[in-house]
Amino acid sequence: MEDLSRFKQTYFDESAELLEVAESGLLRLTPGEVDSDEVNAIFRAVHSIKGGGGAFGFTDLVAFAHEFETVMDGVRNNTIPVTTELVDTLIRANDLLGQMLAYAREGDSAPAGTTDGTVAALRRHLSGGAQPAQAPAAAPAAPAPAPVPAAVYADDEDDEAGLFGDAMAAIAAARAEEDPVPPGKLRWTIVFRPRSDLLMSGNEPAFMLRALRRLGDATVECHTDALPTLQNLEAELLHLSWTVTLIADADVDLDKINDVFEFVADDCDIRITAEAPPPAAEAPPPVTDPVPVATAAPPAVVAATPEAPKAEPPKAEAARPRPNGGGAEHAGLTSHTIRVDLDKIDRLVNMVGEMVITQAMIAEHVRELPPGEFQELLEGLEQLAQHTRELRESVMSIRAQPVSSVFSRMPRLVRECAATTGKEVQLVTSGETTEVDKTVVENLVDPLTHMIRNSIDHGLEGPEERERVGKPRAGTVHLSAQHRSGRIVIEITDDGRGINRPKVLSKAIEKGLVPPGATLSDEDIDNLIFLPGFSTVDQVSNLSGRGVGMDVVRRNITSLGGRIGVYSTPGEGSRFVLSLPLTLAVLDGMVISVGEERFVLPLTNIVESLRPKAADLHGLVGKCDVMMARGEYVRLVYLHQLFGIPGAVADPTGALVVLVETEDGSRLGLVVDEVLGQQQVVIKSLEANFRRLDGVAAATILGDGRVALILDVAGLREMSRHMDSRAPRPPVAALPAPALEPV
């Protein structure tokens, strides 16, 4: 059972990828110029999803995928013309397929009628084009005086029936004379000739024969003619083939029989013939030569099939690019990439993490050795440190993925939003190749979707209004990603109307988020949009006006250790800036001490550390202390005050000031007792067993086994700002304090 669920997991993972393949293929599908590779890729994707779904018994999904696949097949055979409407229908179908997968994944069945509309649309296209060989043979229901070979199927719909048909017809005719098919039943003749290497792929013919027997009354005949002599026998090869005569109820159709061979369709020849009720024959004649293992096919027993089998296999391959083409492509892929369980990588990441800690521990002990005596040991350790760092980076890069997987979803979103809002929107993306940890990439989808919707819905004006204010009719949304100071920074810029501050403020007051009469800075007002339950749209729109918007975005981003900021200029547009860590596992930090406590400051935040002279220090309007550093005044923040640490050095001239910089470029001076040294630290979650704390990004374990908190510089600045503006500071309580609830 557990095994099955593991396969299921793989199936869903792969299906998700296949859906993406299909979608990107569909988006590139343009009327008039059909790239057959592209079409084949889409077809294969849908087909694979269908195939796997069948194995797990997701009947709804398979039924729908089948409809989808049928249309794609028509496109592939050029019987269905590619039109814009068709592409739209197919994109919808692809979405729906994704939904069906989601239902299947949850173990639910899709609500009845979910697929009806899309199926109808698909069928409309189908009836426009030629009907591919698809309708099963249940047709010949009427008893005819003479045996009617109702239809002949190859193992693939693409196969032309003709070649093989004659032979099978002859067999059927021969047999029909002897044994009548009971009324209301159908007789199927299934010739199953596996390739000799079928067993290598772990398939067991006996299962299939048993499965056939479950469908009805089956007579199985085994052909042993191809068996080599004992000394030539290769036990791992399959030398047998079978002919099954199946008397089944009328509701057993071709699909059901084909399902039995779902997994081996590519590794064998299957010929299925149906025959209607009229008199039919027993004693199935041994049909055809067995597996065309190689050259010397034994003489055919039945005269009717002299050439067909030998002619068949190559033809079948030529006629279906599906399995073989797919296989080849996969083979091409596998030579460059492997699919690895994420758990394994995470274990590796953890191991490297522990190694980094151990290395730090050794380094700590070595520092206590008498200097000058262990030169080689020190050099060795230095190298070890270097290698550890490289190892860490390599391991992290395994988990890194380009953000393009998220960015590529946005054009479609923009198209839809533009259509819904009646606005004209142009999306410009840049920096798609920027890489960041997989978890970060995955968790970016929702926030970005929401923010882009928000930009189009709230930010951009309608085309008329834009013309009135002298802007181009089409608004532009710019989505960019880049690495900056060890983090990834994603910006979403629109050239719309900007944040309407008076409206935002009055709304916030109306909702009780800000006390009436409060005076807020522009920046504070802009940030009000991140408050829970805030939404300025008077009418709840389909897109983003549900009031669950930006606060959720903010929470998502914060939970990834990121931050979000908004910069807006009325009339010119808004810019949302997300800054996220590249990896969630390790960082380079500076260990500092305050009182008895030790903390880690991310190295990326540190500009320099210095010991200020009394002359450099000033009080600023009685609110805070500032310090002159390199010709610039920076605000001093006393860590021991923020964190309430006893026994710290209170006088900055006796302490150290670490000049730190946040992602948005603002600087402040952090007053600490001592800087102990630089070290790689493994990021450990505080939230896993406890909760988030203000001013703390995470925790880590130092060389001596003690826990140290990793400081969040922007968070510290936020805390200190609230401390400094002591007197009347109304909005503070309501300001978006980062999510407090334990995760």
Partner: protein, 185 residues
């Protein structure tokens, strides 16, 4: 560094028939009991992961005094709660003899700082008395799951989930209401 003690060795000092660990029947559950000052508390043994000697904690900023800090438990970071401080007795001044009971609450692992482990008791459901109706908010009975008499001692049985859920909400409100520290000038 770590001084974990296997649970089995903890209760071995007493050989009172009722306390016999082996005499577990269906209606009974086992409790690990420990002392804080002169009081004795018990938690269900199923929620106890291990018991370890005191190792110095790292403090967490701006939290109530009963949040002692965090320690490194074989690579994971767990918070330590001071039970004495939790019940208003002020922060425990720790010695090497103090003990941390590591407890699993749902997905989370946490430690409780107590004075000493005292016993493992098999307690039948019938023997657990409900906590008295303490009014006036003197005792928040939410996290008390019952009282039990062992010989002449009273053991207060704690409901771990409730105890921590109360702490969570209080922690949140405590943090929210925490006045920003005045600048020492």
């Amino acid at each position: 560094m770590s001084s974990s003690t296997a649970l089995a060795t903890v209760g071995g000092t007493r050989t009172d028939a009722r306390n016999d660990v082996m005499a577990v029947n269906a209606a009974e559950e086992q409790y690990v009991t420990f002392t804080v000052g002169s009081e004795e508390y018990g938690v269900n043994i199923l929620s106890v992961r291990e018991i370890r000697g005191w190792t110095p904690e790292s403090r967490l900023p701006n939290l109530p005094d009963y949040v002692r800090g965090v320690i490194n438990l074989r690579g994971i970071i767990i918070p330590i709660f001071d039970l004495r401080a939790r019940f208003g007795g002020g922060a425990t001044s720790v010695t090497k003899r103090h003990v941390v009971v590591v407890i699993q609450v749902g997905e989370r692992t946490r430690g409780i700082l107590v004075d000493a482990i005292s016993d493992i008791l098999a307690i039948g459901h019938d023997a657990i008395k409900p906590p008295p109706d303490v009014d006036g908010g003197m005792v928040d009975a939410e996290y008390l799951s019952g009282l039990y008499t062992a010989d002449d001692r009273m053991v207060t049985l704690l409901s771990v989930e409730k105890l921590f859920s109360v702490e969570n909400s209080e922690l949140d409100s405590a943090t929210k209401a925490l006045p920003a520290l005045e600048r020492a000038s």
